[in-house]
Symmetry: C2
């Protein structure tokens, strides 16, 4: 009998997982004198814990990303937790950025008195030095405030947000041999969201007793199917980071139980999938969430190329914004993926309603297409009927408000 993995209702973030403490505080990292806006979070494990990370592939990689990679270089590395700020990405900040990221990690360790290093993350404006005085006072307060309380955990989830309009939490649980195993997670997104993550941070915690290698393997698999299949604006960020911490507190060890490991993977996938969808659903000034399914390609890579061309096309996105079922723009964008699309084999559906079958427009369905693209969420399926490769991309429309929102920072 397979293990039932379930998402819990009303997740509270990291503190849903036993053995983790959190806090979220305000220290005016944006330098605007706002002492209400939470902008620094600490996530810690009672005991040093195993950890794994997945990071941006951008050549311009923020200093904290490099510091995390360094800490996780050793296969047996254990960490104390994560320190993270919003409001400043500490990216494109040259040598000073590396010095600051390392100092941020060291201050967290000092202020919490823990024996293992802290992973460190930043998100926000690129190209500005971290305000280290504010960071330092923030960490000092945050260290004192650490607790297992739900409110603290929600504060931490709020403190990592930038242009997000709401916090993003997800927690999955299951029972195995009478014990409960938890995977909890929080994320931030909103803009600069594309392939291989992009301006998003996600932090997951679990009480499974598992080593770094198995954690990494699980996390990579989950990211490839979730965070790496969302796109808001096609911009990959310098700071994308997903971290997974495992403190072993459940007493469950997957070493000799493929069934347990499988259930754990499922739980990590479910948390990542839920957070990924929340990120797209809260994309900057979006009005529509579109599930784009590309099928019938010769390979999955081909399907991904088509999905990304269509999902990132300005003309496609603006037509969705206008509730215009302009399938011609979809066909155009699919064509410039240049994977050998044959028009005479090409089908397009809005939800279940055909727009194009074997390259022939189904114009009598126009009113049905219109009704579908007027919805806040809909599905578009492109079937090239040339093979069995497929790819699913969660994407969004592009609004005038997005342009206005991003025209200056």
């Amino acid at each position: 009998m397979s293990i039932q993995v379930k998402l819990i209702e009303s997740p509270n973030g990291i503190a849903d997982c036993p053995g983790f403490k959190t806090s979220g505080v305000a220290c005016d990292i944006r330098g605007k004198g706002d002492l209400e806006l939470l902008d620094l979070a600490l996530l810690t494990s009672e005991e040093p814990c195993h950890a794994a990370g997945v990071f941006t592939l951008n050549d311009v990689c923020a200093a904290p990303v490099l510091v995390c990679k360094e800490i996780l270089t050793s296969p047996s590395a254990k960490v104390a937790g994560i320190v993270v700020n919003s409001g400043n990405a500490n990216a494109a900040t040259a040598e000073q950025g590396m010095i600051d990221a390392k100092e941020m990690s060291a201050i967290a360790q000092l202020e919490t008195g823990m024996g293992s290093p802290f992973l460190v993350c930043s998100t926000g404006r690129i190209g500005r030095k971290l305000p280290m005085q504010n960071i330092k006072s923030g960490i000092t307060i945050a260290a004192k405030a650490l607790s297992e309380e739900s409110q603290n955990s929600l504060d931490a989830a709020d403190a990592i947000l930038t242009s997000d309009t709401g916090r993003k939490c997800a927690t999955a649980q299951f029972t195995y041999e009478g014990k409960t195993l938890t995977v909890s997670g929080i994320a931030k997104g909103a803009g600069m969201i594309e392939p291989n993550m992009a301006t998003m941070l996600a932090f997951l915690a679990t009480d499974l007793d598992v080593d770094n290698a198995a954690l990494k393997n699980t996390l990579v698999q989950a990211c490839n199917k979730t965070f790496n299949r969302i796109s808001i604006d096609g911009d990959m960020s310098t700071n994308d980071t997903v971290l997974l911490l495992a403190n072993g507190k459940s007493g469950l060890v997957p070493d000799d139980s493929p069934e347990l490991l499988q259930a754990f993977r499922e739980a990590v996938f479910m948390v990542c999938d839920t957070l990924a969808e929340k990120i797209v659903g809260d994309g900057e000034k979006i009005t529509k969430l579109v599930e784009l399914i590309v099928e019938g390609c010769q390979t999955e890579d081909d399907a991904e190329k088509v999905a990304r061309c269509v999902g990132n096309s300005l003309l496609v996105k603006t037509s969705w914004y206008g509730s215009d079922p302009n399938w011609g723009r979809l066909a155009d964008a699919a064509g410039y993926a240049r994977i050998g699309l044959k028009e005479a084999c090409f089908d397009i559906h809005y939800n279940e309603v055909p727009a194009l079958i074997s390259g022939i427009p189904q114009d009598n369905k126009l009113s049905e297409w219109k009704a579908i693209v007027a919805k806040k969420r809909f599905r578009i399926t492109l079937n090239l009927n040339q093979g069995s490769g497929s790819f699913r991309l969660l994407t969004s429309d592009l609004s005038e408000a997005y342009v206005n929102f991003n025209k200056s920072e």
Copy 2:
């Protein structure tokens, strides 16, 4: 002594070149009852002429593109001219689209009574059948109206426009052995403008006596350096076509004169370059034209990747729109080209003013950057200092008005 090639002032389009006749008429192709809007043009040569074409690389390729390619298959093919409509792209129109494109070409030949086939082009909405009755009556009127008059030539230049706000003409001339050689051209652009052309049409005419192979060679070289280095919205169209007709009327033959051939190439380049810049300058609802220069890459291909990532980034384009010198977004986009950019070697300049030198922000120049990005046209140079590969891309900002303009058709 090298030949002086010059662009003429106040070009009048195709009719600037001796031996070509044109007309532009209104035949309500959009089906809106508008009998004022010019939407069909004929361009003809007195005598059958040589021709070459460069076309979209989109897998979804409009029917008229396929018909042109077919006509130009024979290396010695001669054509009567070009028939072109705006308002309907005749793309993604399946079998009927091919039948219609061929008929459009045949009607032009019949109505003009010429002995060679017509190349055929369409531009406008994708996925709708051509209104063949209107096309037919349009061609009939246009054939009767054909003349060498400048006003006719301007009407033809207007008839090919879609969302353009103004006509686009350029003419280059030079003198060789006492004879004048002319290259004249017209274009349309506005949206769906990206690599390898994209929703653009350009038609060039010359009175050089030259065969199809040399024409093609010249045209490909010119396109690669001009129309293929502009981007407005990153969308490659189904209909991109550049055609070059040569009627030999000047009596000049380049066969034994590399100098003449070189001057001709220069003239074709100058006309294409001028039209390309006019296309970006008239991009849909743009407010700024940006000359993006990427230097110091290991190869030209790498430089092109960086230029396209930066020039097509929504976050970069929106920041330009807002006159925000957000060089961090430039660095981010350059980084996700993933060509191995080294931050410590990376320089960014706005015009002549440094923003980043060897990866170090030049924050004391902030007011100067701001003044530059507030201009309607400026230059940004990214130097990776890792080699000698470079690429120049003409691109634009992205405005709220673009989104509004394209949200429905």
